[in-house]
Amino acid sequence: MSVRLLAAATAEQGMLVDTTVRFIEDTLPLTGVRALAESTEPVGAAYIADAASLGWFGMLVDERHGGGSASGIGLVDAAAVAAERGATLQPGPFVGTNVVAHALSVAASPTGDLVSAGQMSAGPVSADTVSGEAGPHTDLLARLVAGQAVATWVAGAVGGLTPGAGEVTIRSATDAPGGGSALDGYVLDGEVRHVPDALGCDVLLVTGNGTDGLTQVIVDTTAPGVEIRALSGLDITRRTCSVRLSGVHVPAGALVGTPGTATEDLFARQTQVAAVLAAAESVGAMHRDFELAVEYARARIAFGRPIGSFQAIKHLLADTSLSLEMAKGLVTAAAEALGGGAPDGAELAHAAKAFVAEHGITLTHACFQVFGGIGYTWEHDHHLFMRRLAADAVTYGCAQWHRARLAERIGGVG
């Protein structure tokens, strides 16, 4: 039942995937996801804590910040977990929490430029080398890794990532009405829609426009002025939210990294990491929807034959299988390259998301055609995958956005 995203998993990666599959089967299989979807509850704290104990939230975090991964490249492991999650349509901000934790870990390193440097979980802790003190978000990072806190990323329309979603303004508190000293930190205003799974999160990483350029801060969801509202959505297994920030004050220590160019670089890396993980979740959903269609084609009889013996069905599934294998290969390659610091990491990450966004839609249509009428029923699981894949296609950047990032790189290398 595993997606088997990695063609050549190490023994450690195999174990990570096995425990992940078993954990999901035991705690939140698809029947449970369905029940959760029809209720209004977010996923429980116990689920998060147990998942954290499997290592779900520390794979993109430096070891000195409490992170660690099964193989040398945390992003590959995280992608493998994401794929299994996608196959069972797991809810909750797995991508969000990992992106936030990764951003905090990178920003806490002295150079902050792991973006172009090397391995995803390498690099010294800022506490040791910069000031001798613990970094500003050390405690939060530890809580995220341990599953004691969940986070999501409020990016909105920054850089066109989520068109029409709105953006946040981050002013220095001194400039805000009422004034104050620089120590007072920042004031945030704005409404951003299409934030994945914000409901139930403890903290938000908010990207916004500040006086010194692009700025990122950590916001506690319990802070006054934070209002989170669930939207209606096509994907009923995951809650997209609207986040309104009305004069939200955060302390100076809430800042993540240095505003301006450095944050732009970090922002770019966040989009790439999110792209790989979101694509991996999609590939998992593609895998399972496809698997169900193949099973159906084997069993369903029409015109005196199993329908899978008809070339119309057989060839449709073969073509779909090809694009699924390509998607798996590309997501793996992107995770390896981006996570391993290869020069083409960013390029592959954008390509992976662009490929998966489009082929996920094509795949779910193909599966629907194989299911025929039964696919129209609420009881059949197909529509849950169809909904998820369509929603995934625009989350963390649609195909067009990621292709535009690649177009910017034409003529360069990597």
Partner: protein, 446 residues
């Protein structure tokens, strides 16, 4: 899914009828006199159609509320009493026996006025079931049922597809066994649109298992309220529950309920499929070509998500538009070809069906790409914003219902292009052997 097919809501196809009282009068009227008279009656008795919002992207099978159906039945009765029900239907069964030009005149005058809304079952009753009955049922049967159909006392749905017989329509396994002068029906049907509020089902059952599958089938009229009939509404992926599933547990029927000849059900089914797939196309005039501007629904969508000036969104809109006009042009071309060669009409109709089956999903995907994040999540209760997503979920309706794309492609390949036949594994042996052999499929043949 086979049972609702290409009919849309069915609404516009409900033929308006004239009742017996005015029969003599109507017959002596010239077309112009008839039209003038109808106009007066319509203005006095019907209400104008309320202005509609923009059409949703894709097809939506919305449920019709019970009170609307009740009002629809009353209004149909009113039409009947006034002599405007069954205008072209035989007088002996409650129709007016007039020519098609009278019906067209009435419909033209009624344009813009609200006609009876009998929901999706209304379309099936008037456009498919009654038409098929008129072609095949006994005079006794017709005398019993057609007048009650014309007064909307009897709404019929199709009991045709089965859980194990979808595309393979002739593969039905519901069985009717003759016992002591009665027929005992057992089995299950599915995709019967609107059965939950209809009165009768027109049901195909196997009555002989020892002949090839297209033989040994018989149609029955089944009262939906009869003992042993259970109707379950099917919740669809859109959340609607327009379709139903029925279970028959020793339902007792009589010879009076048989439609057409016993074991000749497939002949009847062919007629039904012709009506269901819009075989009427060939009888109409040229399809009216109304310039509609460029994909107005998608332009509206792009405006609502703030992308109307985005060149890539505009290109997607144009791509949809090019396919839109090509599909409209295809319909016009098919109309011309069908008029030129009526014998090929049924085969050519596959093009219309396949065009929808192929292009509806493409268009829905384009709409999703234009809509972007706003098409995927929206403010609670903002129904308009959710339309693109509903259209996406529904977009394969035409590629599956009423004959899948694959069935249409086979039809075009073999009956239009003259390509060699698909090997058949179910037409030359008793149906019970077909089922056994399919289960033991090995791929070995000739």
């Amino acid at each position: 899914m086979g049972d609702t097919a290409v009919k849309g809501t069915g609404q516009t196809e409900v033929p308006a009828e004239a009742s017996t009282e005015t029969l003599e009068t109507s017959e002596t009227l010239t077309l112009d006199e008839y039209r003038a008279r109808a106009r007066v009656w319509i203005r006095e008795n019907l209400r104008p159609v309320p202005a509609a919002g923009p059409a949703p992207v894709g097809m939506r099978t919305t449920e019709t509320p019970p009170e609307v159906i009740a009002a629809g039945r009353a209004l149909q009765r009113k039409l009947f009493d006034a002599g405007y029900a069954g205008i072209t239907w035989p007088r002996e069964y409650g129709g007016q026996g007039l020519g098609g030009e009278y019906e067209r005149a009435f419909l033209e005058e009624a344009r813009g006025y609200q006609m009876p809304n009998l929901g999706i079952a209304g379309g099936t009753t008037f456009g498919v079931c009654a038409m098929t009955m008129l072609a095949h049922a006994s005079p006794d049967f017709l005398r019993r049922h057609i007048p009650r159909i014309l007064t909307a006392e009897e709404l019929f749905v199709q009991f045709f597809s089965e859980p194990e017989a979808g595309s393979d329509l002739a593969g039905v396994r519901s069985r009717a066994v003759r016992e002591g002068g009665r027929w005992i029906l057992n089995g299950a049907k599915i995709w019967s649109s609107g059965a939950y509020y209809a009165d009768w089902g027109m049901c195909l059952a196997r009555t002989d298992w020892d002949v090839p599958k297209h033989r040994g089938l018989t149609w029955f009229a089944v009262p939906i309220g009869a003992k042993g009939v259970t109707v379950r509404r099917i919740r669809q992926i859109t959340g609607d529950a327009e379709f139903c599933e029925e279970f028959f547990d020793n339902v007792e029927l009589t010879d009076d309920d048989v439609i057409g000849d016993v074991n000749d059900g497939w002949t009847v089914a062919q007629t039904m499929l012709m009506f269901e797939r819009g075989g009427g196309l060939s009888h109409g005039g040229p399809v009216r070509k109304v310039p509609q501007g460029i994909a107005p629904d998608l332009v509206e969508l792009a405006r609502s998500v703030g992308r109307i000036d985005d060149p890539q969104a505009r290109d997607l809109i144009v791509r949809a538009h090019v396919d839109d006009v090509a599909r409209r042009a295809l319909m016009a071309r098919l109309g011309g070809l069908m008029r030129a060669e009526p014998g090929r009409a049924a085969h050519l109709a596959s093009y219309a069906k396949l065009a929808s089956g192929v292009h509806d999903p493409v268009r829905a995907n384009l709409a999703m790409a234009i809509g972007g994040p706003d098409a995927v999540a929206w403010e609670e209760n903002d129904e308009a914003a959710g339309r693109t997503a509903i259209g996406f979920l529904n977009s394969r309706f035409m590629s599956i219902a009423g004959g899948t794309n694959e069935v249409q492609r086979n039809g075009i390949g073999e009956r239009v292009l003259g390509l060699p036949r698909e090997p058949s594994f179910d037409s030359g042996k008793p149906f019970r052997e077909v089922l056994r052999d399919a289960r033991n499929w090995s791929g070995r043949a000739g």
